[in-house]
């Protein structure tokens, strides 16, 4: 492809604000990145918990106490929302990759769906797990 403007046009990232009006697609995009990186942090905790369980009762008690503490619950419920949001928005990405859902109206609708859907699924999961 001939591209006469290669090299001196604004490039992603850092498009928000100056070049790109903030809107729902910007929000869903940056949240996908934030939730992806944040889940990397949560994965660290999860692996630590499994390693502690494999090590023995004392190590497990320590890790399990941290993860089920007040702060631990807060972090894990945050990670749960991150997972549901990233999962729903990830499916949105895969559908785009297949060439569908690109028009503005559909993209805005599926974006809202990922935001609201992730909140609903998080709440449902917390309720289901809390009830045993």
């Amino acid at each position: 492809m001939a591209d006469v403007n290669r090299g001196n046009r604004p490039l992603s990232p850092f498009m928000l604000g100056k070049y790109y009006r903030f809107q729902i697609s910007s929000l869903t995009s940056i949240l996908h990145r934030i939730t992806g990186v944040a889940m990397g942090g949560a994965a660290l905790l999860v692996v630590w918990w499994f390693l502690a369980a494999a090590t023995g009762p004392a190590a497990f008690a320590r890790a399990d106490w941290v993860l089920t503490s007040w702060l631990g619950h807060l972090v894990l419920i945050g990670a749960l929302w991150a997972l549901f949001y990233h999962l729903l928005n990830g499916i949105r990405h895969l559908v785009w990759d297949a060439g569908h859902g690109f028009d503005l109206e559909t993209a805005a609708r599926t974006g809202k769906g990922a935001l609201i859907g992730s909140a609903v699924l998080t709440l449902l999961t917390v309720i289901i797990v809390a009830m045993g």
Partner: protein, 124 residues
């Protein structure tokens, strides 16, 4: 302006040097993670805070153990690819970028293998 024809760019597999490989691997791991994340989630959430014996029993079940292992494998492969993309976006200094990419690869492999090893230890 770079003196590189479009044919050269195509033959060299673009600026990343590996064509669509990274992109495709990220899609494959993403598809795998949809069922795996959901299957991993509920036994894990129930096991949390249920006591050591209960955790050993839960992951002594082959189904839970295999799901956890497959989840760790897919998640850390996907995380490595994802963090690589983030690093390449924000870090432009070549030395720092190369160093962070190496750390990312090693850390993701190490954590993924550690998680898998822990599940195997519990299950056996």
């Amino acid at each position: 302006m770079r003196f590189l024809t479009d044919r050269k760019r195509a033959a060299g597999l673009g600026s990343a040097g590996d064509g669509v490989h990274h992109w495709w691997q990220q899609r494959v791991t993403a598809v795998a993670l949809v069922p795996l994340a959901l299957l991993f989630l509920f036994p894990f959430a129930r096991a949390l805070g249920s006591g050591h014996e209960a955790v050993l029993a839960a992951y002594g079940k082959p189904f839970n153990a295999i799901v956890a292992i497959a989840f760790f494998a897919a998640a850390f492969a996907h995380l490595r690819l994802g963090l690589q993309e983030v690093i390449v976006d924000y870090v432009s200094s070549h030395g720092m970028r190369a160093a962070l990419l190496v750390v990312n690869t090693l850390a993701c492999w190490l954590l993924g293998l550690a998680g898998i090893f822990a599940v195997v230890l519990i299950a056996l």
